[in-house]
Symmetry: C4
C-alpha cells in the first residue's frame, strides 16, 4: 500500500452478502443485505473516495438491494471481472496500485493480487485468504465492506476524524 488509494472496488456476493439467496416454488428470489455496510459508504463519501460495486451475478433482487443503499456506481452480470476492471481503470486513469479491492471467490484471485490493497472476509476459502493483504474479522454479509473501509482509514490515521 505504497500508493494513495483512489478507488474502493467491492464484489457483492460473498462481501455485501454471505453468498446466499432465498427462493420459493415460483422462483421468486430474495437477497439478504446488511445496513452495516452503509457505514462504509458514508465514510468513503466523507473522505471523497469514489467506489464501485461489481458482480458476476445478474439478479433483480441484487439490483433492488443496491438501490436501497442509494448506490449508483455499480455493474452486475460481469462475465470476466478482471477484464472489465482493466478497461474501467484505464478509462478512469487509475492504476491497479491505487485500487483497494475486496472479494471472496476464485474469480477474484487475480484482482486481489493486482490491487494495491486487497481484503477478504474471514469466511472466504483458504486460497482466497492466502492471497488477500488483509483478512477481515467480519464475516461476509455482516458488514465486511464497512470494516475494510474503517481499517483503511484507521491505517492512514483518518478514521477518528471521519466520525
Amino acid at each position: 500500500m505504497k500508493a494513495k488509494i483512489k478507488i474502493f472496488i467491492s464484489e457483492i456476493e460473498g462481501v455485501w452478502t454471505d453468498g446466499s439467496f432465498f427462493i420459493n416454488g415460483s422462483g421468486n428470489e430474495y437477497w439478504k443485505f446488511n445496513f452495516n455496510d452503509l457505514t462504509g459508504i458514508n465514510l468513503l463519501k466523507k473522505n471523497k473516495i469514489p467506489f464501485l460495486l461489481i458482480s458476476g451475478e445478474e439478479s433483480e433482487a441484487e439490483k433492488k438491494g443496491i438501490a436501497k443503499f442509494g448506490i449508483k456506481s455499480y455493474k452486475t452480470g460481469i462475465k470476466n471481472k478482471e477484464k472489465f476492471l482493466n478497461d474501467y481503470l484505464k478509462k478512469k486513469k487509475i492504476s491497479w496500485s491505487e485500487v483497494a479491492y475486496i472479494g471472496s471467490t476464485i474469480d477474484d484471485l487475480n484482482i486481489l493480487k493486482k490491487a494495491g490493497l486487497s481484503a477478504t472476509p474471514i469466511t472466504s476459502p483458504f486460497y482466497v485468504r492466502n492471497v488477500a493483504n488483509w483478512i477481515l474479522r467480519a464475516k461476509a454479509g455482516e458488514g465486511a465492506f464497512s470494516q475494510f473501509v474503517e481499517d483503511y482509514l484507521e491505517e492512514i490515521g483518518k478514521l477518528k476524524e471521519s466520525f
Copy 2:
C-alpha cells in the same frame, strides 16, 4: 450508573435486528426480528420502567415488526438521533444520566457517551464497543435488548423477583 435509570432507549437496526434486510426483484422487503426481545419488554413493564425505540431508517417492514411486539413507544426515520433525544428527554424531564441506551453504529457514539448507562451487542464495530459501558454477550438480532434489561435488573438486584 450513579443515578436511577428512568427510561430504556434502544436503536432498532443492529440491536433488535442484526442490521439485515431481505429484498426481492420487486423491491419487496423483509426484516428479521426475534421474539427473544419480548422478554426485555415484559421485564421493563413489570418494573414500570418506560422505554423508547428509535431508528434512523424508515421502513414499513420495520414498523410492522414493531407492531408485532405490541410496542407503541417508537420513532423511525430520525435524521439526527442525538438532537431528537435531546428534545425528547427535555420534554419528558429526564436527564441523560437517567437514560439506559443501547445502540451499535457511528450515529450512536455521542448518545452512548451521554447516557447514564450504555450497552452494545458484541457484534458492534470496535469504535462502538470502545465507548459503551457494557459489551453484551448477545449478538445483534438475537435478543441483545433483552439481555441489556436482564443485566441491568441483575445489577440492581431485581432480576429474580421479576420472573
Copy 3:
C-alpha cells in the same frame, strides 16, 4: 431421570426456531424451521414415545411449519403454559417426573424444574441454562429438539438400535 420418560414436550420458539420471524410492510410473516428436527420426530416414533409441541405464540406461519413436519400433536397460543401442562398431564395420567421437556424462556422456568428431564439449547439465557438438566450443544433453530431426543436415547442405550 429416575422414572421412565413417557412423553417429550417441546416449546416451539427458541427450540424449533431461533425465536426469529421475518415480516414485510404488509405484515406478511415468515418463520424459519429446520428439517434437522425431523430426526427427533422419527426417533421418537421408532421408540413409540409420544410428543407434544406447545407455543405461547399464535401464528399462521407457525402452524404451517408444524404441518410441514406432519405433526398433529400440538397446541399454540397458550397463555399459561404451566397451567396448560398441569391439566394436560392430569388428563393423560402422566406425572411430571415422566416428562422430558425442552424450552428456552422465562415462562419455561417452572416447567423445566418440574419435568423429570429438562433441556435447553445453548443459546438460551443464563437463568434458563441454570435450571435445565441438560444444556444442549445445539443452538435454537438448528436441530436442538433432535439433539435432545438423541442424547436421551444415547443415555438409555437405545440410540444405535434406533438408526
Copy 4:
C-alpha cells in the same frame, strides 16, 4: 480413497442448505441456498467429473434453487436413498469405491460408509461425523459442497491448476 473418484454425489438438505425452510401463513415456502457452491460445480466441470444431487424432500422451492445453479443432474423426493443409489450406480457401471459422497443425516449413514470417499459438514450430528472420512470446516449451507470438491482436488494435487 484408493480408487479414482468417478462421480460426486451430494445430499441437498444439510449440505447445500443448512436444513432450514421459511414458511408463511399461506404455506408459501422459501429455501436458502448459497452461491458459494457454484465453485464446486465449476471445479468439477473443469476436471470433467460428473455429479449428482439427491434429496429425500420434495419441494418446488428446492427445485427452483437447483435450477438457479443450472444443475440438471438431480433427483428429489427419494424415499430410500441407499436403494436409489445402488440402482443408479449399477446402471452407470460405477462402483461404490469410485463415489465421493457428502451427506448429513441418519439416512446417509450407510451411504457414507459405502462410498470410496465420504464427507460431512462440521454442523452434522456426532453419529454422522463419526462415520464420514472427512469432517469439513464448512457449515451446512455455507459452501460445504464446494469445500468437499476443493479438498479432494487439493488431495490429488489438482486444485491450483483448476483455478
